[in-house]
């Protein structure tokens, strides 16, 4: 049995118990840094796995006609790409950042429930192995889209759907445990003086994200459970012949699905709110309004779900309500964007790699947000629904939004984590390479979408050929850029210029002000002082 002994963490001389050796260190670890690292590597692996499926999609769409894969396999690719990126790449990456950063940002010795923290992670490799294995089973992987609408996922789905259902159950268990841990840590483990309104915004956004996770992951579990009983035990939740309704599935799914969107973007807001002030060398403008905006977005996120289903034949009153509520979200989101811009106003700005990614985030996330506003207008959505315009929209918010913030967070905190500076030149190449290619990839999709090209179809009409070819070229270039990123990550971990404790001239926060780079295995065994 072991209790942390007090020692002065700030000097970086850690005579405390270091990690165990070998593979079992990672399997049995209860250390928030180890678990954060595991999450981040899982997310990167899944990013490359999901990305490879995106490459197959773009390859098939490079030219009109069926070129490389069967339509059924194409459907499997779009489905699995979405599932793997949402549940395997973006969400675990943010949980990894939460694990690494929250304890060192609030001055805690570790997460509140370290053993459960281990379990939250170690369910995921099993869940994704189960999910990925469906590709190699009879009937192939799920092919009904990542939203798995009934009856495609019930009456007409392959047997492998049951493996998918249970994989989702496992991911849900993992997410709920992870979120409980985050909330318990933030509410119970803050150092003396770290009042709620002094917490870094990354901590705030994660507190609210964790609440969203606990509120909606069980609803997703309920939805897939009803799918399972509809498939095997004769229930009729999603079958009109028994008095149920396939549209009911969509309502339940999107009651989960819309807050899920904010689960994937609120922590990104936290990351950007940390990076912009550092490189503008000014405190964040409107801190408390950022907190309230985040909370408002979270509350509104529960009340807008049916804007994903404007074309299912809802009563007009429903369409109007969901339209207005949706447009309302742009107010707190606008507050955030304006606060970031105002933070930079008259700042002494420099443009190191993390700042570039953060600025890229602000510009391109706003593009995604504006196309979201267009989609939120019910009569207009009738035209855009299920076209490539939607694909362009959510890739702007998820790739140049969520993923960009994760990459920005990597460049911003990796010197703190490893004690090594990344290679600034390579980081900048990575940014420009990615940013040019990602716009070549997704921007033309707005045009083909507006012109009527449907999503999730392996072939298209001839007039879309040029834009699709351009889009595919951008896609291959963007994919390659992330292999280059893998090289940068490994290079930085293995060595590099020694990072200072502060890392960045303008950096603030406990992790930069009171911990060495890298921080000791157990960071704050004695609570730090918060000014």
């Amino acid at each position: 049995m072991y209790t942390d002994t007090a020692h002065d963490a700030a000097h970086g001389e850690h005579h405390d118990h270091g990690p165990a050796k070998g593979l079992m260190r990672w399997v049995t670890t209860t250390n928030h840094k180890d678990i954060g690292t595991l999450y981040l590597w899982l997310a990167f692996t899944m990013l490359l796995y999901g990305g490879s499926m995106a490459m197959i999609i773009r390859l098939e769409l490079f030219q009109p006609g069926l070129q490389w894969v069967e339509p059924h396999f194409f459907n499997q690719m779009t489905t699995m790409h979405g599932l793997v990126m949402v549940f395997g790449a973006i969400m675990p990456a943010f949980v990894g950042l939460a694990n690494w950063l929250i304890p060192i940002m609030i001055g805690a010795p570790d997460m509140a429930l370290p053993r459960m923290n281990n379990w939250s992670f170690w369910i995921l490799p099993f869940a994704f192995t189960i999910l990925a294995s469906t590709t190699f089973m009879e009937g192939g992987a799920p092919a009904f889209g990542w939203t798995f609408y009934a009856p495609l996922s019930t009456t007409f789905a392959p047997d492998t759907t049951d493996f998918f259902i249970f994989a989702v159950h496992l991911m849900g268990i993992s997410s709920v445990m992870g979120a409980i841990n985050v909330i318990a840590t933030i509410l119970n483990m803050r150092a003396p003086g770290m009042t709620l309104m002094k917490m870094p915004l990354f901590v705030w956004t994660w507190l609210i994200t964790a609440y969203l996770l606990i509120a909606v992951m069980p609803v997703l579990a309920g939805a897939v459970t009803m799918m399972l009983t509809d498939r095997h035990f004769g229930t009729s939740f999603f079958d009109a012949a028994g008095g149920g309704d396939p549209v009911m599935f969509q309502h339940i799914f999107w009651f989960f699905g819309h807050p899920e969107v904010y689960i994937m973007i609120l922590p990104a807001f936290g990351v950007i709110s940390a990076i912009i002030p550092t490189f503008a060398r000014k405190p964040l403008f409107g801190y408390s309004s950022m907190v309230y905006a985040t909370a408002s977005i979270a509350i509104l996120s529960f009340m807008v779900w049916a804007h994903h289903m404007f074309t299912v034949g809802m009563p007009v009153a429903g369409e109007l309500y969901f339209m207005y509520a949706t447009i309302l979200i742009s107010v707190p989101t606008g507050v955030k964007v304006f606060n970031w811009v105002t933070t930079m106003w008259k700042g002494s700005m420099t443009f190191e790699t993390p700042m570039l990614w953060a600025l890229g985030f602000i510009v391109m996330f706003t593009i995604g947000g504006l196309s979201g506003l267009m989609l939120g207008v019910a009569p207009v959505d009738t035209q855009y629904h299920d076209t490539y315009f939607v694909v362009a929209h959510f890739h702007y918010v998820l790739v140049t939004g969520a993923l960009y913030s994760i990459i920005a967070a990597f460049y911003y905190w990796v010197p703190k984590w490893t004690g090594h500076m990344y290679d600034e030149k390579l980081g900048k190449i990575h940014f420009w390479w990615s940013t040019i290619s990602v716009n070549v990839l997704f921007f033309p999709q707005h045009f083909v979408g507006l012109a009527g090209m449907p999503r999730r179809i392996p072939d298209y009409s001839l007039q879309f050929a040029e834009f699709n070819m351009i889009s595919s070229i951008g896609g291959f270039a963007f994919g390659l850029a992330q292999i280059f990123f893998l090289y940068i990550v490994i290079k930085t971990i293995r060595g590099g210029v020694k990072a200072t404790d502060r890392v960045w001239e303008g950096a603030t926060g406990l992790e930069f002000e009171q911990l060495p780079s890298p921080p000791p295995y157990h960071s704050f065994t004695e609570a730090p002082t918060v000014k």
Binding site: Y2, P109, A112, L170, I214, A241
Partner: protein, 291 residues
């Protein structure tokens, strides 16, 4: 809320229970999926569940040992409290999905199938003979979904079960009072009463299921009424069973003298859980049985 000092916060040093739990979980669900497809027997499911039970026994056993050894300070205790509270909230949201399905079916899908709102054409084209009602005894397609002869009433067995569960909520509170006045004898007695009431509820619920299947032809596959009825009461019954087992373990621990008026979080966590299943039942009684 933040503590004066983190110095004694207990950070355990490595644990093998989670990976065992993951193996158990994965085996259970993969076994279940294969069982559904007739590719495997049911054995892997039970092996998986056995691994999970072993994990819980070992994990909780470790925590109990550490707790008795005085490893946990007040701050650790508070982490456990937040953890349990939010876990129960997640359970509430799990039930919310099924209640949502119930309300949607009653308010929208069933009336719409009969032409309500602006769905005249739908009703005419699909099943013109279908008549909306709740409880829905006859689904639109009766050769696929069984016809129910009679809906489950509220004022027989379900009302008795309501009294039983509400009483058990009282007995668990009496047990808590006994615990607080260091009366270990009555603590165990009242816990025993709670466990007995809990299992009594489950038995009566089982009897009700037999009645539903044999006498009312109310089945899981008898349309949306049967689907919502059995999913909601079934998951609730499962939670009552789990809660009663948890109470039983707490009773055994109480008999061993594990709890003091100052340190008895495990008791409180299970009591919270028990009140949660109680409240869910009230929702069920009102919306599934009564109204």
């Amino acid at each position: 809320m933040s503590s004066a000092s983190n110095q004694d916060y207990y950070v355990p040093h490595g644990t093998h229970w989670p990976i065992i739990g993951s193996v158990g979980l994965a085996l259970t669900v993969v076994g279940f999926a294969n069982y559904l497809h007739d590719t495997w027997s049911a054995t892997p499911i039970f092996v998986g569940i056995a691994i999970l039970v072993f994990m819980m026994y070992g994990w909780f056993g470790t925590v109990v040992k550490e707790s008795l050894a005085g490893t946990y300070n007040a701050q650790v205790d508070m982490s456990f409290r937040w953890g349990m509270g939010w876990f129960i909230f997640s359970e509430v949201m799990f039930f919310a999905a099924f209640f949502g399905a119930l309300f949607y079916a009653r308010m929208y899908s069933v009336p719409w199938l009969d032409g309500a709102s602006n769905n005249d054409a739908t009703a005419q084209y699909l099943w013109p003979d279908f008549e909306a009602a709740w409880p829905l005894l006859m689904a639109p397609v009766t050769d696929k979904y069984e016809v129910i002869t009679k809906a489950m009433g509220a004022w027989g067995l379900p009302a008795l079960n309501t009294i039983i569960l509400l009483t058990s909520g009282l007995t668990v509170t009496l047990a808590h009072w006994a615990l607080k006045r260091r009366d270990n004898v009555w603590l165990v007695y009242w816990l025993f009463a709670t466990v007995a009431l809990g299992f009594g509820f489950v038995l009566l619920q089982g009897y009700e299921y037999v009645h539903a299947y044999q006498d009312l032809n109310l089945r899981l596959d008898s349309g949306i009424y049967g689907s919502t009825f059995f999913m909601l009461t079934g998951f609730h019954g499962f939670h009552v069973t789990m809660g009663a087992i948890m109470l039983l373990i707490i009773m055994i621990r109480a008999a061993k003298g594990h709890f003091s008026p100052e340190h008895h979080f495990a008791f409180e966590a299970v009591a919270w859980y028990w009140h949660f299943v109680d409240v869910v039942w009230l929702g069920l009684f009102i919306f599934v049985y009564w109204l």
